[in-house]
């Protein structure tokens, strides 16, 4: 199963290495990881998307992360109401005669053109990872010259549904 984990860490050198090293040592597969400064000075926020077999494994992951001295807080927010966004830059083969066609079919994605050349256009698209996937599938037939994704970042929404299911250890 896919889990979304957010980790607040002290922002000092080596901390990213510590966290990813731990995941490697304990044989966890990271699908994506994003890191950046948070609202508190000296603290960074990481968002992971990991694939795990079962709840026991994710419990281990959360506990092992919590043990790290530089880790302040770990949350598995998968089952909560969350906002999650990823950004992708997609360079699509787009000769002049096909350009308006592409533009019209991708319109619902609200992607923006941020660079264009004679035969290629670079789109910027943001949204949940599934939306990015859908966008990529849509433009793939035209030919993708280059693709770069940031990985998802996320946090919980202000209003939560009542009785959000949670992992036993976080209760």
């Amino acid at each position: 199963m896919k889990r979304v984990i957010t980790v607040t860490v002290i922002n000092q050198s080596g901390v990213l290495n510590r966290v990813t090293g731990l995941l490697m040592k304990r044989q966890f597969n990271i699908e994506s990881i994003t890191v950046g400064h948070s609202e508190q000075t000296g603290m960074s926020k990481m968002t992971f998307i990991v694939h795990v077999e079962d709840e026991q494994k994710i419990e281990q992951l959360v506990k092992q992360l919590q043990k790290q001295i530089d880790v302040i807080k770990v949350n598995d927010i998968t089952d909560k109401a969350i906002v999650m966004r990823e950004l992708a830059l997609v360079k699509v083969v787009s000769p002049p005669h096909a350009r308006s066609e592409i533009n019209s079919i991708i319109e619902p994605f609200r992607a923006t053109v941020i660079d264009s050349g004679k035969n290629v256009v670079t789109y910027q698209v943001t949204g949940a990872p599934e939306k990015i996937e859908a966008f990529i599938d849509l433009v793939k037939p035209y030919g993708i010259k280059e693709l770069s994704r940031t990985g998802a970042t996320a946090f919980t929404r202000e209003i939560q549904k009542v009785n959000t299911p949670q992992l036993s250890i976080l209760k």
């Binding site: 080596g14 290495n17 281990q60 092992q64």
Partner: protein, 586 residues
């Protein structure tokens, strides 16, 4: 005059200026502050080895001494520090140089990590300006030790050093203990402190707050489970020793009439002769202890981590038991064995809370009778030989002569298992063995550290002929410091456990496990000006052991034992605990 010296002078002048108005500040450099910091932490001894990158630190040590044990190899130094830490409970302090000095420590750091031993390891590093350039004797110690330490630091600025020293000792010796590495670039060791504030910076660890007291509700749940148990069992691990909860354990065992078994590292948490003690459990545990685990209805794990050598096949481990697990490390709970009642706590606090509940003892009379029967029926056994000395006999002799009071250290392998089975310990913190990592060459240097921590105790290193040769250079320490460690080599001319597995699982194909050519260990001892004994005849054994072990001098005993002897009983890999081979019933 170099730029560095100029700045130093300028800084010293600056530091001297306000002397009249304010309190006098002695200019100190990183090295001097390090030594001062160690003294403030109450460090009695440093195990180390000098080298280029730690020259400033060794110079500071020369001017402001702390007793230093100069091992002959960094691995010897760190295993000695582990032995010191295990018997004293205090963090062992290690100092080594950059590059090879630091990489030679890797085995010991990992060993301490696996067995939760508090160590603070200082390594030199090349100057900050050349880090990352593949400089002479540069190694990425932080990268290398990151997965094998509880935490590690590289000191980038001398102003951080006092705080880092305090944090390193705090992290190593609280919560679940473990090794902390502090990597000090050479220039940091010579930089001068400017302000007093820098030298008195305090611990600041917002991400480190180990839980040491139990949750009341969980304790109540545990009480309910124990009260109505008919076949309860306590599994006492090293957490009992780390938490110094021996008295509380004994009270629980005796007042509630609950039998107790140990992990390898938990040995000594209750005396080996206690009527409710079933012996060690696990791969080479006693039949009774393993059957007790397989049949109990409530299993109370206190500070053990359900290691695979203890549990055997997890699918059949304690199939009837409700599991209560007390551990200071929440990540250990539920890691291997599903746990019904998790109690994150220091072992002493948890047992105290349990005893405070003053609940009625469960009715365990039938259970105890049954277990007693098993003990009578299927005790540990071996066949004696007319001529050859059995290793088990040798250990029983050592036990008899030292009356079960010695501090015993071991490596890993057959001799370790026999020592665990046959050296019944009277006292806690008298058992020093490499459990999790299973490090050959651990036992002898660990004995040196243990003896330094407890100069008045008798320390016996029981080692194999293979493992001893991995760190035998430390005989120099016995010679130099006259440390009265008794080294007993159970010499079977083979890597016994490897050979046993080859015999059992590889049709006796003894691939590289027989060592017919060996040094003359007695002459080796003599080369270091130590008394060496050789025991070859059965009839001489007792008398030679007696003379050697009761001497006040360091001695080495080369005891020739039967080569083809196997450790039994045994749970074969992949099998469940109830499935033991080599059990002999009367």
């Amino acid at each position: 005059m170099s730029a560095e010296v100029q700045t130093k002078q300028a800084v010293m002048e600056m530091a001297q200026e306000p002397m009249e108005q304010q309190k006098q500040i002695q200019p100190m450099d990183g090295s001097a502050v390090l030594i001062q910091g160690l003294k403030d932490q109450g460090v009695e001894v440093i195990f180390g080895y000098p080298g280029g990158a730690v020259l400033p630190i060794y110079d500071a040590l020369y001017k402001d001494p702390i007793p230093h044990v100069l091992a002959r190899h960094e691995q010897g130094a760190i295993h000695a520090a582990e032995g010191y830490a295990r018997v004293s409970g205090k963090p062992g302090v290690v100092l080594a140089t950059s590059g090879p000095g630091a990489t030679n420590l890797v085995t010991g750091i990992t060993d301490a990590m696996m067995d939760s031993l508090p160590l603070v390891v200082f390594t030199g590093q090349v100057a900050s300006t050349v880090i990352g350039t593949d400089a002479f004797q540069e190694a990425d110690v932080i990268g290398i030790t990151q997965p094998i330490t509880k935490h590690n630091y590289q000191v980038r600025d001398v102003a951080d050093l006092p705080r880092i020293i305090k944090e390193a000792f705090h992290i190593a010796s609280t919560g679940r203990r473990g090794p902390v590495v502090v990597d000090i670039p050479k220039n940091v060791a010579t930089e001068i402190f400017v302000t007093e504030e820098e030298r008195t910076a305090e611990v600041n660890l917002p991400g480190y707050q180990p839980t040491t007291t139990p949750n009341y509700l969980q304790i109540q749940k545990a009480v309910e489970a124990i009260r109505f148990a008919r076949k309860p069992l306590i599994l006492a691990g090293a957490g009992v020793l780390h938490g110094q909860a021996m008295a509380e354990l004994k009270t629980v065992v005796e007042t509630k009439r609950i039998p107790v078994t140990n992990t390898l590292l938990g040995l000594g948490s209750i005396e080996g002769t206690h009527e409710l003690f079933l012996g060690m459990a696990g791969m080479h545990g006693t039949y009774t202890a393993n059957m007790a685990i397989s049949e109990c209805d409530v299993l109370i794990n206190i500070g053990a981590r359900f290691d695979d050598r203890l549990t055997g096949n997890l699918g059949t481990f304690a199939p009837h038991a409700r599991v209560i697990h007390i551990d200071i490390d929440p990540a250990e709970i539920g890691k291997n064995v599903p746990t019904e009642i998790p109690i994150v706590s220091d072992s002493k606090e948890a047992l105290k809370a349990l005893l405070n509940q003053e609940f009625e003892a469960p009715d365990t009379a039938d259970w105890l009778t049954y277990l007693n029967g098993l003990q009578e029926e299927s005790p540990l056994w071996y066949n004696t030989d007319e001529h050859e000395i059995l290793p088990q006999e040798a250990i029983q002799m050592i036990h008899r002569i030292t009356e079960g009071d010695a501090i015993v250290t071991t490596d890993v392998g057959q001799h370790q298992m026999w020592a665990a089975q046959y050296y019944s310990l009277n006292n806690p913190d008298h058992w020093v063995t490499s459990g999790g990592l299973g490090t050959m060459g651990f036992g002898f240097p660990a004995a040196i550290g243990a003896q330094i921590a407890k100069p008045n105790e008798r320390v016996v290193a029981i080692v194999g002929d293979g493992g001893f040769q991995m760190t035998s250079q430390e005989l120099s320490l016995l010679q130099e410091m006259r440390i009265p460690v008794k080294v007993v080599i159970l010499n079977n001319g083979a890597l016994g456990m490897v050979r046993q597995w080859q015999e059992t699982f590889y049709d006796e194909r003894y691939s590289q496990s027989l060592i017919p050519v060996q040094p003359d260990f007695v002459k080796l001892a003599e080369a270091y000006d130590l008394k060496g004994y050789r025991i070859t005849k059965k009839e001489d054994a007792e008398q030679i052991f007696r003379e050697a072990l009761l001497s006040d001098e360091p001695v080495l005993i080369d005891c020739r034992v039967k080569m083809l002897e196997n450790v039994y009983p045994m749970v074969a890999p992949g099998k469940g605990l109830q499935d033991m081979i080599g059990v002999k019933s009367k």
